[in-house]
Symmetry: C2
Amino acid sequence: MLQTLLNHKSIRKYKTNKIDDNTLNQILEAGSRASTTGNMQVYSIIVTKDNEIKNQLWEAHFKQDMVKQAPIILTFCADFNRFNKWCKLRNANPGYDNFLSFYTASIDALLAAQNVAVAAEDFKLGVCYLGTTTYMADKIKNILDLPENVVPVTTLVLGYPDEEPELTDRLPLKGIIHYEKYNNYSDEQINEIYAEKEDLESTKELLKINQKENLAQIFTDNRYTKKDNMLFSEMFLKHIENQLFMNNK
Amino acid sequence: MLQTLLNHKSIRKYKTNKIDDNTLNQILEAGSRASTTGNMQVYSIIVTKDNEIKNQLWEAHFKQDMVKQAPIILTFCADFNRFNKWCKLRNANPGYDNFLSFYTASIDALLAAQNVAVAAEDFKLGVCYLGTTTYMADKIKNILDLPENVVPVTTLVLGYPDEEPELTDRLPLKGIIHYEKYNNYSDEQINEIYAEKEDLESTKELLKINQKENLAQIFTDNRYTKKDNMLFSEMFLKHIENQLFMNNK
């Protein structure tokens, strides 16, 4: 089991083989057993196989080919719609149109997503998370007919791997773990934590291609720029508000 | 493996037995292998064993006894502090003081948390998530000395179980899964999805104790009230802003 977790690799190339329903159902069942706030299960999972809808999702997810290749796209949503409907049918007055409830539902959706990812890998399937979900939340809402009180928070691409990538590097454990309290980093510690990553052959390759001085600048100037982050922050917050999760303001 | 996921139960009573460092390190290593946005690993995990600090955390987490009982408390934080320090040391200009970056870091922290939970259960340890983390984020910040650009998003209690609870009920899978697009619920479907939960002996017991007509009202009137949600929304948003993640506004 531990080996499944330790061997995780994001897969970005997929075979066209379909996933049988029995396997898919066991994976989704494993997702539904994840911890959930007060056992409310305030999330939904959208299973998309239809090629036309997948094409639309491919457009939304910055045209990453794996979205078309892989047989199944799973969109995980923070969802108070179902719970609110239940409350109203029972003459109970739901008070979940606020940021805390959105964040609570996000936690539920993300814990379920990770259980699904682990279960899928245990079945020798490949997965990849799509960070583009929050950037394009409003577009995805339109594609998947998401009602109010539902916000897409992450997406898993699911299928049989058509590549065998190496394990990705990670920071040394001591770089992300703190004992008792947060021990803030000295410059020396930062240099130490990032040394291995900066010294990778793949990093040196990236610097050549991108004509940058160092890896940090590739993140700030190319991959995750302030301009994009500001734009997507505004879009995502607006979407959360439109989906009626900001009535605390 | 699948069995570990399917058999998850939150544990709320713990033996005082300590967890050896080798086991803990393997569990944390499994956490660090979870997917992370652009391999940035923008999260931190605080491992607290010290009784005095645990006492302070117990206060913050609504005095739930398991926080004192269990040998280890793991606080998962959205963390751009380390990454920002690295960028600045490398003459790169970080643009991560915004809501999208906070949410991205939250996803990283939560996927790592679920890997830790699964790995711990595979070692026959018990875990329980504490939803009180977001309610009391500012208090937890003070206890754990969290710097700017760090926000606690969830907590796992970790230890050897001193109880053997039954599996908790879940909604039928069809209640949380949608095929192709979101299929909004009819009243009839809502009744069907919640029927089993409403019919449990434990639910009937709860209604007697709480003197309520139905389970939904226990959620809206007792457990997760609009008043609390509004208050905690304001407090959490203020905390996120104070931790410098809302400079997009």
